[in-house]
């Protein structure tokens, strides 16, 4: 009898084959090949048009850049929380709260005056304040599950899933009630924020905003510094790997849980504020209907794919945003080619699925070597 077994051993040496860029390319490539094979069995679509669509997605990278930036910020927020075993599935709610914080400051607070008749310097400061107030609201929203976990040991996961819905409802309540706009042609939504409060479009790359690019770089760099070089970062890592050791070395576990929830929520809130000031310009009613792009949820995938390693947040965000834009393009493209009854959506899902599986496997084989052994 032939017996095949799979042997997993921890890798003791790293090789080029398992370096990040190789893993990225490999997973995208295999995802492409798998989904093409499947499509071919149905539609005999020629490879040229298939691969050229993909190529187009890549060179029209602009569609990719915008989700990439937001997923990087949110992925960083969640990843930091993961280091401390604080399972922040509430980034979506914190992101919405970030939007609320920003629009409040810009339209309903005393600061709103500045945007109507301030000079550009005053505007700049006020914008910064709006972004920070978004961050602070995200922080507050995240502090609730953080404090509950620290003081009552209630698991943060169900609490935050619930709080995401509450955040949607609060936003809808404000949009339909106190913050309802006057110039909305009968739609339920807030008015647009004044031009002077919007973020700066980069000319030539209209999908981008200067402030968002700068914020993404700053958030990632500061997060990296925090995790690698500061005492707080160290304590967050110990909290996540051995909380007993954290306590017995005289550190305050509760304080660390609260801090990690606050930091994570602040960053997610920043992302929401940047979104509102840079792209959305107003709040829409029924925000939970996909009007957030579900970035807060998608970013969980980004953080998960980076496996508690901050350096992998960016490649993971690249993968996830490339997948969503290509999947979207392929759907439109395949609609005409596929026989009736076969869903284009399914194919884009297969592509996304295959790529993610390969990427995860490759990340695992970076740490472990897997051998197939056949014996008689």
């Amino acid at each position: 009898m032939v017996k095949v077994s799979i042997v997993v051993t921890k890798r003791s040496r790293k090789s080029i084959a398992t370096s990040t860029p190789v893993i990225l390319l490999l997973s995208l490539l295999l995802g492409l090949v798998a989904s093409y094979t499947l499509i071919w069995t149905f539609s005999k679509l020629d490879p040229i048009s298939f691969f050229s669509t993909f190529y187009q997605t890549l060179i029209s990278y602009t569609g990719l850049l915008e989700p990439l930036l937001f997923l990087t910020i949110l992925g960083t927020a969640i990843s930091i929380a993961f280091y401390g075993s604080f399972w922040n599935v509430g980034a979506e709610g914190q992101y919405v709260f970030g939007m609320l914080g920003a629009i409040y400051l810009v339209m309903f607070s005393p600061v709103s005056e500045v945007f109507l008749n301030g000079d550009s310097a005053a505007n700049g400061v006020a914008k910064l304040l709006a972004v920070i107030s978004g961050g602070l609201l995200g922080l507050l929203w995240s502090l609730i599950p953080g404090a509950l976990k620290a003081y009552t040991r209630v698991s943060e996961v169900p609490v935050m899933l619930l709080m995401n819905y509450i955040a949607y409802s609060i936003s809808d309540y404000l949009t339909a009630g106190p913050w309802k706009g006057r110039y909305t042609y009968g739609y339920i939504r807030t008015d647009m924020i004044p031009e002077s409060s919007r973020l700066t479009v980069i000319s030539g790359l209209e999908v981008l905003r200067y402030e968002v690019v700068i914020a993404t770089i700053a958030v990632f760099a500061i997060a990296y510094l925090l995790i690698e070089y500061t005492r707080l970062g160290l304590e967050i890592k110990v909290l996540g790997s051995n909380p007993v050791a954290l306590k017995s070395s005289g550190r305050n576990e509760k304080k660390t849980i609260i801090l990690v929830s606050a930091i994570s929520g602040f960053i997610a809130g920043l992302a929401g504020a940047l979104r509102l000031l840079g792209y959305d310009y107003r709040l829409l009613y029924n925000i939970g209907d996909g009007k957030t792009g579900f970035y807060g949820y998608t970013a969980i995938l980004v953080a998960w794919l980076s496996f508690k390693d901050l350096r992998f947040v960016i490649p993971s965000a690249i993968i996830v945003s490339a997948l969503s834009s290509f999947g979207y393009r392929m759907q439109m493209f395949l609609k005409e080619l596929l026989p009736p009854g076969v869903s284009a959506f399914a194919f884009s899902q297969i592509f996304i699925g295959t790529t993610l599986v390969v990427y995860s496997l490759a990340r695992i084989t970076k740490e472990y070597s897997v051998k197939l052994v056949v014996r008689e």
């Binding site: 003791s12 070089y229 051995n242 050791a245």
Partner: protein, 505 residues
């Protein structure tokens, strides 16, 4: 020599295993006969555990193979090895803390698809654990068991799996004399049933007492395998540590401190402390202890008498039901480890990966956790300091940035000792530190804390299951039994026999 009765069962053939920067096994060849107790001796980091793990299919060797009954085998996972009747009792018991003993054993039996009827297993646990050494309550939660008791649970597991080759990694270090005798006869019984015991240990005396053959390892190589006729403690020590790198005797007692004239306030004082155990009544009952500056208080007792709980109370990890705890006259009762640590009290645990360190993080980061850096970590300084400690305490690690968990058991312990000695200023709480230390390092550690306490007035509470060590290190000896302190003596005024009696009464 000719041994007609000998029948080879398992052979390790030319096995090499390399970890980053360390050659853990270097062309090791070893033959095990049916019906023998074979001891592996070697200092910390010499490759003992790695060898056992290769035999148990936990590590796949880089080169070489295992032969069973003359046939080369590929042992690619522990399940493979268990199918051949090979079972490894790890140095660090591998049990789920939050589950009971029965539950843990059922999980193991399931994963090797052996039978599993709860009531049957429950009574087998009672039966087997008594045979092995001491009774284990099947319904006790593992988190409440002492280290030794956890190892007995592992042994019960092996016995229920009908192991033919039992690889025992440092299990016997702390068994009290009575239990040890029982355990030895258990091993001899296994031998009479034609089984093989591979006994990994640091204790030369133990190997000489119980083994049929001894294999000595140093730096991943086999120095020599010797037969019973050649057993001689000094000779074996020489093989272990090299011609002159060994200490044949424990150090002579440094002058005892005269504590009677000291009228100083106690550094650490427990005043009628009661502590709840998770499942059964009180783990500590009415504990009165106090330690003066520079005093070394030994607390000795057999496994499971409350030592672990006592250490956790002193560190602040466990809450006090009634009574008070003072550090330097300051009431720190139930104020958590923060206040206690801030007072400069260090802690060396028998399970450093549970109590002291984060295994996933590097030596540097674990040093940082307890020492320097308020806002930013001075990584350069910390790395240099780690190197210095590695040098000073003989810690073998690929680099200061290696995750702690990949070091050998003894090296992890050495690192914990190094860090805590660096940190502690006022007092040091020590719980069974020598479990995974080789003899040479153990005595040098004991000397070090004696010298420090003499020269800096640092107090030490040395909690241990080893009476030898406690007698060697202490100014004052307290005996703990069933969660109570049943006697406190000054070291010179007490006979060993008195203490032994109190420990087991």
């Amino acid at each position: 020599m000719f041994f007609p009765s000998r029948q080879s069962f398992l052979r390790v053939v030319d096995v090499t295993k390399r970890f980053p920067g360390v050659l853990a096994l270097d062309s090791v060849t070893l033959e095990l006969y049916l019906s023998e107790i074979h001891s592996i001796l070697g200092e910390n980091g010499s490759g003992k555990s790695t060898l056992a793990k290769v035999i148990a299919g936990i590590y796949v060797p880089d080169r070489g193979y295992i032969e069973i009954l003359g046939k080369p085998m590929k042992l690619l996972s522990p399940v493979d090895a268990v199918n051949y009747g090979i079972y490894y009792i790890p140095q660090n018991p591998n049990l789920v803390e939050r589950l009971t003993v029965v539950e843990n054993i059922l999980i193991a039996l399931k994963s090797y698809s052996a039978f599993a009827r709860v009531s049957e297993v429950r009574s087998l646990i009672v039966e087997e654990s008594q045979k092995i050494g001491s009774l284990i309550d099947p319904e006790a939660e593992v988190s409440e068991l002492s280290y030794t008791q956890r190892q007995i649970v592992e042994l019960v597991k092996a016995s229920l799996l009908r192991a033919r080759v039992l690889l025992v990694d440092e299990v016997t270090t702390y068994l009290p004399t009575s239990v040890r005798e029982k355990f030895y006869s258990y091993l001899r019984k296994l031998k009479s049933e034609n089984k093989i015991v591979l006994l990994i240990t640091h204790k030369v005396s133990e190997a000489v007492d119980v083994a049929d053959r001894i294999t000595v390892m140093r730096s991943g190589r086999i120095v020599k395998t010797i037969e019973k006729a050649e057993f001689d403690v000094d000779y074996v020590r020489k093989l272990m540590f090299g011609e002159n790198g060994y200490i044949s005797e424990p150090p002579k007692n440094v002058l005892l401190k005269d504590l009677t004239t000291e009228n100083r306030r106690a550094v650490v004082k427990l005043d009628r402390v009661w502590v709840i155990s998770e499942s059964r009544g009180y783990a500590l009952k009415d504990i009165e202890l106090s330690v003066k500056p520079g005093e070394i208080l030994g607390v000795v007792g057999i496994s499971g008498s409350g030592q672990r709980e006592l250490a956790e109370v002193l560190v602040g990890l466990r809450s006090i039901r009634s009574g008070r705890y003072y550090v330097d006259g300051l009431d720190v009762t139930n104020r958590g480890p923060e206040a206690i640590r801030a007072a400069g009290i260090g802690f060396i645990s028998e399970t450093p990966l549970y109590h002291n360190l984060s295994g996933d993080l590097s030596l540097v980061e674990n040093l940082a956790l307890a020492t320097y850096g308020k806002l930013f970590l001075p990584l350069k300084l910390l790395t240099a300091k780690t190197r210095e400690l590695m040098e000073k305490y003989g810690i073998i690690s690929t680099s200061p940035k290696t995750p702690v968990k990949v070091l050998s058991g003894g090296n992890i312990m050495r690192f914990t000792i190094a860090r805590e000695l660096e940190f502690a200023k006022k007092a040091l709480i020590v719980l069974n530190p020598s479990r995974s230390l080789d003899e040479k390092f153990k005595w040098s550690f004991i000397n070090t804390i004696k010298n420090i306490s003499r020269s800096t007035d640092m107090s030490v509470i040395y909690i241990s299951e080893s009476l030898d060590e406690v007698l060697q290190v202490s100014d004052t000896v307290a005996v703990i039994n069933g969660g109570r302190i049943v006697g406190v003596f000054s070291r010179e005024s007490v006979e060993r026999e008195v203490l032994e009696k109190l420990m087991v009464m």
